[in-house]
Symmetry: C2
């Protein structure tokens, strides 16, 4: 079985890693839209257009199931993708929310993400539907921080403090990392928030696929990116824990 995953950049590799762990035999084609990253500071129309183009690229590669690893694209483009393509399309919002709902005891849940993800209210609506109070906050500097490889130290701590201090007295007992880049900052975030349960949705996404994936195939992993920029090899190895040579993707523009 061939699975497609796309993300605005390298962050979705955290989702790929979790899926690969659970389904070692499937073939995976990953597309990172590094030529147009980030999505999270761009408008809904632009995010939908980019998402359609990424999905079309993966359709041409013959994928039978699509995972939208990008939270921004999951927030804005999931319905359009489901109406345009015949294969099943999975996002990261619902699994993340399910995971948080399982973990919270006081039903006060925080969520952080890009400006677009937070503005879409996709997480907030679903969390409220399940009866939770929600505190949401956009953290636009986290993505460039991760892309720059600054994952700890004083700057990372100051920026985490800048965005997350309002969560300290908010009474939340669970925080959703609503962006695939953020798990790389989890140690600093966890240290700052102390006893709050920090939910990384990549594991939850992987579990949400279990009724739809047959663990059959050659276990191949292909990584495509729309731009092969200089930090790419470093970040692939950092996230996946092994070297895989990225290929340049030529994405058809609608």
């Amino acid at each position: 079985m061939k699975i497609g995953i796309f993300d605005s950049g390298v962050g979705g590799l955290t989702v790929l890693k979790a899926i690969r762990k659970h389904y070692p035999n499937v073939d995976i084609v990953y597309l990172g839209d590094t030529a147009r990253v980030p999505y999270g500071t761009k408008s809904k129309d632009t995010v939908i257009r980019y998402s359609l183009e990424c999905a079309e690229f993966l359709r041409e590669k013959g994928v039978e199931l699509l995972v939208v690893a990008c939270n921004t694209a999951s927030s804005y483009a999931l319905e359009v993708l489901r109406s345009r393509f015949e294969f099943p399309v999975f996002g990261v919002i619902e699994p993340g929310v399910e995971e948080a709902v399982k973990k919270t005891k006081n039903r006060k849940v925080g969520v952080i993400g890009t400006p677009a993800t937070i503005k879409s209210e996709a997480y907030q609506k679903l969390l409220k539907f399940f009866g939770n109070e929600v505190v949401a906050k956009a953290c636009p500097l986290f993505v460039p921080l991760v892309e720059e490889g600054i994952l700890n130290g004083e700057i990372a701590k100051k920026i985490v403090e800048h965005y997350l201090s309002e969560f300290k007295d908010s009474g939340i007992d669970t925080l959703i990392l609503g962006c695939t880049h953020y798990p790389l900052l989890k140690p600093v975030i966890q240290e700052f928030l102390g006893s709050v349960e920090v939910v990384d949705s990549s594991e939850a996404v992987s579990r949400s696929l279990k009724d739809f994936i047959k663990n059959e195939g050659e276990g191949k992993t292909e990584l495509f990116f729309t731009d092969l920029y200089q930090n790419l090899d470093f970040l692939i190895e950092l996230i996946l824990g092994k070297k895989i040579t990225p290929k340049l993707a030529e994405v058809e523009i609608y």
Copy 2:
């Protein structure tokens, strides 16, 4: 006379402002490629392709002279643009270097910019050609910091310190801000570096045009952007000091 200016985003508005001050009557069409910002972390091939597309958009608007306000595009795409288009094409590297050469007394000049600008060595080569020692450094977090509107305070200071501390003992007496976003951080940079002369090339760019511009026209300013994201109106007013409604640009993709 109609002048075109393009940049990867809003930063080039600092160049527009300087040009407008010197040439109040010309008509200016500005294009900010906000759907694909930033350029400075992307590869040479991608930056060249995007630059050609931006220039073509402005050619169709009837511009008679093109200013590439983006340092990354100036570093990588100037020659290609000059060979493809008939109107004169001006970049920001040469004027910035000229300005620094005038100001330095000890011929030790620093330059900061995006990873792509610094990697291109465009500034370094030209500064060395004029007999200067050069210290160069990429500052990838400065652009998202400005786009996020964090222009002072503790985080801005920490990040400035992170990137610029090596300039403190380097002996440079002049520093070029090799990115159109950076002038917005100039107060923090200047405070950190003390007596070092900080060169913002937007004024120099404007002066470099003086033999090519006729100050004739209706004084119109049109602002186009490839994505109308949420911070845009705020940033336009912050940089230009007045409100101008941005229009959506549909850029033909090569």
